[in-house]
């Protein structure tokens, strides 16, 4: 039975009559699994919002959306909202932000059972208990969201979203910002949905997730379908050039690093011996030895919460090592260790134009404005982009801008904390290649923190797996 069918769906800006997306057509059977893939910022999420009827104000959709054979796109917002939880449900992006911070997690989920399935409270509690047991959450029912780890919070949100037994689950970027351990957890939860006979619509830029989920796939570029079919066939023998580029950009299919030698011994920038790191007298990492030379790249990998950020803070000098030695070369000046941040929009002051920011940085480090424009040209960015505010610039462009901003300070060491985890595969590859090229040209030593094993192995000269040094 066809659960959802979408025909010639367009999403457009109401005032300007500009199409952002479309035409999109697909159908989803009960028990089936469909993945929509494409670049970040291409409006993939708009598809989910159009189906739910929760498009941001100013955006409208046209075309047909049929749910169980009935058109729902011209229903009143109130009637559409009545479908939520019952027939359609959505797994929120970054679920830990979607839980009520003051409510115990068991209570939040029981509420869904109480109001969607019309159980009485006693029965709802019992249902919640069973659900929690299945999800391995039994001891968390009495905890509030801030006491949960990210993975647990995600499972609680999953429990709340699926408690209404809706037939269609929309998962919008379910793996955004997750390390590989949590990635596997959410994958197994999502996989169970079609097996239960319900339908799953996943929107993602994560190729590994799409492959593991199987089912059908739609590849989007610039809001249009470029390729569709059975996931495994499409991804193993892509026909459209965009799909080919997408598959090639997956870190697991990157070519291995061509060996190059960093010869000079004198150029050691930072070196550690039996380093012990921790915060508030609790050690996370012990016995760490590493060495970074000019022009060299070092990748540090490990699951979240293992102390990667603390390690960077120790290198930059904002926390003191708990033991062992950490030697920085004496010629490294105050501003010559620079950082790149995980989420590009949070690294720029949000309410002023980029130009204002760059003016201040170039003035501080005595760089001519023309030289900056030259640098921008090198990374294929137009100078007009500086007139905008950070929120009006895409993540990939913003991350390239933050490379440039760090380069203005003429750093000797660059610390990059998951700089590409929120970017799509192709943008990630361009950004990382650019980063490597710039560092080689400027003879900068770079430390890259990543949770992706493939990036760590194939991108950097040296690789440290923090799991081995965990306390």
């Amino acid at each position: 039975m066809t659960l959802l069918s979408v025909k010639n769906l367009y999403v457009f800006i109401e005032d300007k009559q500009v199409d952002l997306l479309g035409p999109i057509s697909f159908s989803l059977e009960l028990g089936e699994n469909l993945t929509i893939m494409g670049e970040t910022g291409a409006g993939k999420s708009l598809i989910a919002q159009a189906i739910l009827g929760s498009l941001p104000t100013g955006l409208k959709s046209r075309g047909d959306i049929l749910l169980k054979g009935e058109a729902i796109d011209n229903l009143s917002p109130k009637k559409r909202a009545a479908l939520w939880g019952d027939i359609i449900t959505a797994l929120p992006q970054e679920p830990w932000l979607s839980l009520d911070p003051l409510m115990r997690s068991g209570q939040q989920v029981a509420e869904t059972h109480r109001y969607f399935k019309s159980y009485n409270w006693k029965e709802a509690k019992k249902q919640t208990e069973q659900q929690f047991k299945k999800l391995d959450l039994s001891d968390t029912a009495q905890k509030r969201p801030f006491q949960l780890s990210g993975g647990m919070a995600q499972r609680v949100a999953f429990a709340a979203a699926t408690a209404g037994d809706a037939e269609l689950l929309l998962a919008d970027e379910p793996t955004k910002g997750l390390d590989s351990h949590r990635h596997d957890k959410i994958l197994s939860l999502l996989k169970a949905i079609p097996q239960k006979g319900d339908s799953l619509l996943t929107i993602t830029h994560d190729l590994d997730l799409a492959y593991a989920l199987g089912g059908k796939i739609i590849i989007l570029k610039n809001g249009k379908i470029v390729e569709e079919g059975i996931t495994h066939t499409v991804l193993s023998s892509p026909k459209a050039s965009y799909t080919q580029a997408l598959c090639a950009a997956n870190p697991s299919s990157w070519p291995p690093l061509s060996s190059c030698t960093i010869s000079s011994k004198e150029n050691i920038l930072v070196q550690s011996e039996k380093l012990r790191i921790g915060r508030n007298k609790i050690a996370f990492i012990k016995g760490l030895d590493f060495c970074l030379k000019a022009g060299e790249s070092l990748a540090i990998s490990g699951p979240s919460g293992i102390g990667k950020t603390s390690l960077l803070d120790t290198i930059i000098g904002s926390i003191k090592p708990m033991g062992g030695t950490l030697t920085r070369a004496e010629h490294i000046g105050k501003w010559e260790i620079q950082k790149l941040y995980q989420d590009p929009p949070t690294a720029f002051p949000p309410l002023i134009s980029l130009k204002d920011n760059f003016k201040a940085v170039t003035k501080k480090h005595k760089m001519a404005w023309d030289q900056l424009l030259q640098l921008l040209e090198n990374v294929e960015l137009d100078a007009s982009i500086l007139e905008r505010r950070p929120s009006n610039v895409s993540g990939g462009e913003l991350q390239r801008l933050s490379f440039i901003r760090a380069l203005i300070a003429k750093p000797k060491i660059l610390l990059a904390d998951e700089p590409t985890s929120r970017l799509d595969l192709i943008t990630q590859e361009t950004c990382l290649n650019l980063l490597k090229k710039l560092c080689r040209e400027e003879n900068i030593g770079i430390i890259l923190v990543t949770h992706n094993q493939h990036i760590a192995e194939k991108w950097a000269h040296n690789h440290i797996d923090l799991n081995q040094f965990c306390v």
Partner: protein
Amino acid sequence: MIFFASYSPLKLYRKIGLSRSIGLGLLSIIIISTVIGPDLVGHDPAKQDLLHARQMPNAVHLLGTDHLGRDMAARLLSGARLSLSLGILSLVTAAFLGISLGIIAAWFGTWTDRFLTSFADAILALPGLLLVLILMASAPGSWWLLYIGISLTLWVEFFRYTRQRSRIILAHPSVDASKNLGLSNYFILTRHIFPELRNGLFTISAFGIASAITAIAALGFVSVGIRPPMAEWGLMMTQLLPYWREAPFLILQPIICLVLTILSLHLSVGGFHKK
């Protein structure tokens, strides 16, 4: 001219919405008449004329005369001058104090923050008007004490808002990035903190002036604020109260002035969160 070209009244209206348009329109009328009104009316607000007391509005006295034959229009405008100037002055003082201390508390944290926060909480624990009353009791009618008292009650709101917002902003990665790049504290202050505070401070300011004006009138009404023969709205209400039956239009005038002023201030910042 560019200003007018790009902001025709209609465009401006669309941008700011109905309630704010009304509020800002009303507020500008009040401010303009306060500034140029007394000269246009031309009467001395303190000059008594007992032969022509409690007159209905007429050609000579546009809004009539009070129980001592003083021109009502001149007295209302003089009262508006006093209330608005004292309100704005107290607000500027309070805002300066509150914003700087708020940023200092957020910036330095630890005991500086604890000290300033407990001080602000202590002031907040006293009902605002009570604090002014205590001060006024030591020297009734003193303009300076009124000013200090009102500023002292108003700064807490600025302090609490600024401290709370700044703490969040200063913990943001972008501030860390700016510090790492060697940008000055001045940059962090003017590019990170102030742009984020601006809208909220506008709202608090408008509400602050409104409560300052209400406080001045309330104190005048209970005869501990501004002393006669100065014209002040609250004082005028007390003085005209005995005549409410014979000349209700007299006591209504200061009340309407007060209500319109407060209303215009509140409306002019309403709906700031909407785009």
